[in-house]
């Protein structure tokens, strides 16, 4: 009983301090790199919110859930199930990711190009930017690939596939500094 009271008291104290400091979610945003732990935490937060949110907010929350879960190929099937009954344009990207994962690179590029033509960018999404960058690089369009790979690396700076492809693109473009920086990072992984 005493332990319970102590636990409640200490938790309440922490909550009061966090509230007074006004930094409830700031700690998560500070380190917003999309490693597995971070993505999992975001998904859990939304799932928790979904349990108590009114029905009119479900569409928005499902979209957020899909957005996070689609940052790994393993989550794509679940994304499709979650999107059933909704009309999210973002599902074009999910479809493109599935095509890419199945080895249908041309179809994936076609779908992503169409999506980017309509919406200009897919902000805050690691995998979409990574795959779009990889596809351009594979087609020999290094210059087009660089901004997408760089963007993806802002979200997941230790992704070796992105780093290796980016290095090749910089080589193609004769970008000496870019190549040197990527090499320095890759050397740390050796």
């Amino acid at each position: 009983m005493d332990d319970t009271i102590v636990t409640i008291y200490r938790k309440a104290q922490m909550e009061i301090v966090s509230c007074l400091a006004g930094i409830d979610d700031a700690i998560a945003e500070e380190t917003g790199f999309y490693d597995a732990g971070y993505v999992q935490s975001q998904v859990k937060r939304i799932q928790k919110e979904l349990r108590t949110a009114p029905a009119e907010q479900h569409q928005k929350l499902f979209f957020h859930l899909i957005f996070w879960m689609s940052n790994s190929f393993a989550g794509l099937d679940d994304c499709e199930k979650l999107a059933e009954g909704y009309d999210f344009p973002f599902m074009e990207c999910v479809e493109a990711l599935k095509e890419y994962h199945a080895g249908h690179d041309d179809r994936a590029l076609e779908l992503l190009e169409a999506h980017y033509r309509k919406y200009k960018s897919v902000e805050g999404h690691f995998l979409v930017n990574k795959v779009f960058g990889l596809l351009w690089a594979e087609k020999g369009f290094g210059q087009k690939a660089i901004p997408f790979l760089t963007y993806a690396l802002q979200l997941k700076p230790d992704d070796e596939e992105c780093l290796k492809t980016l290095k090749k693109c910089y080589e193609q473009q004769n970008n000496v500094t870019g190549k040197k920086v990527v090499e320095e990072i890759l050397e740390m992984f050796d």
Partner: protein
């Protein structure tokens, strides 16, 4: 170099958030300059060795070079004896840097460039002044108000201060000119050992960031928020992301051009 080329994207926002809670700024500054600064001066001069052209010339040369780049006056640097690695800047109107002798002994010249670059950035950008004032403020609040207010004030400050540390890392990296060197310096500082730093597998060490991020509830987040300096795996992730970014590449080219001249 423009500040926007290396500061963390959330720094200005965090500062606005924290500045809202600042009270008695002028009074604290006056008390600090008239009392606390004077209390520290004799100890600094009597118990440390000041860096000059003849004492620790490598450190002196590095500080001069970084300050020349920033077009600012060189802060005095004092070397103290300690078992720990460490470099920290203090002061409001007349800032200085304290550096442990063990750091000079065990760090390469490039790694020292990273460590000193961090502190000079903090001085130049007013971070050191705010931190010194905040420490004074905590002392005052502790005597006048409930414990929770001091804790809340500290946590709000730490949020901004952690972010300034990311910016300091970015700046230190630009000064030392190599991401590997910057990461090595961070590892040595955090682990306080060359031997241990050499044993780190960067890939797995960064993996610890994922484990930290997985710890996400009120208690975990409170303890994470109560840290003045970000955790080392997050610092390494931040440095890598910055180095690859468009502005990071631009800033590095600018710095390399300046060093060649």
């Amino acid at each position: 170099m423009y500040r926007e080329e290396y500061i963390h994207c959330r720094q200005n926002q965090a500062f606005e958030q924290y500045r809202g809670g600042i009270l008695l700024q002028k009074e604290i500054e006056k008390t600090y300059e008239e009392i606390d600064y004077k209390i520290r001066r004799p100890d600094l001069l009597g118990k440390t060795v000041q860096v000059t052209a003849h004492q620790f010339p490598t450190v002196n040369k590095l500080v001069k070079s970084i300050c020349e780049y920033e077009q600012m006056e060189c802060p005095p640097v004092y070397v103290y004896e300690d078992y720990y690695y460490g470099a920290e800047s203090y002061g409001i109107r007349k800032p200085w840097i304290e550096l442990s002798a063990k750091t000079i002994q065990d760090f390469s010249e490039e790694e020292l460039g990273f460590v000193l670059g961090r502190e000079i950035y903090k001085i130049a950008d007013g971070v050191t002044g705010q931190k010194t004032m905040m420490e004074e403020r905590f002392r005052m609040i502790r005597q006048m108000a409930p414990n929770q207010l001091e804790q809340a004030s500290r946590i709000s400050f730490y949020h901004w201060y952690r972010i300034t540390n990311y910016s300091a890392d970015n700046y230190g990296y630009l000064q030392c000119g190599n991401i590997h060197t910057a990461v090595n310096a961070i590892l040595k500082m955090v682990l306080n050992s060359i031997g241990l730093a050499d044993q780190v597998d960067i890939r797995e060490f960064i993996g610890q960031a994922s484990e930290i991020n997985r710890l996400d509830d009120d208690v975990f987040n409170y303890t994470k928020a109560d840290e003045p300096v970000p955790y080392a795996p997050h610092r390494i992730q931040n440095l890598m992301a910055y180095a690859i970014s468009e502005r990071g590449l631009r800033a590095r080219e600018t710095m390399e051009r300046w060093k060649r001249v």
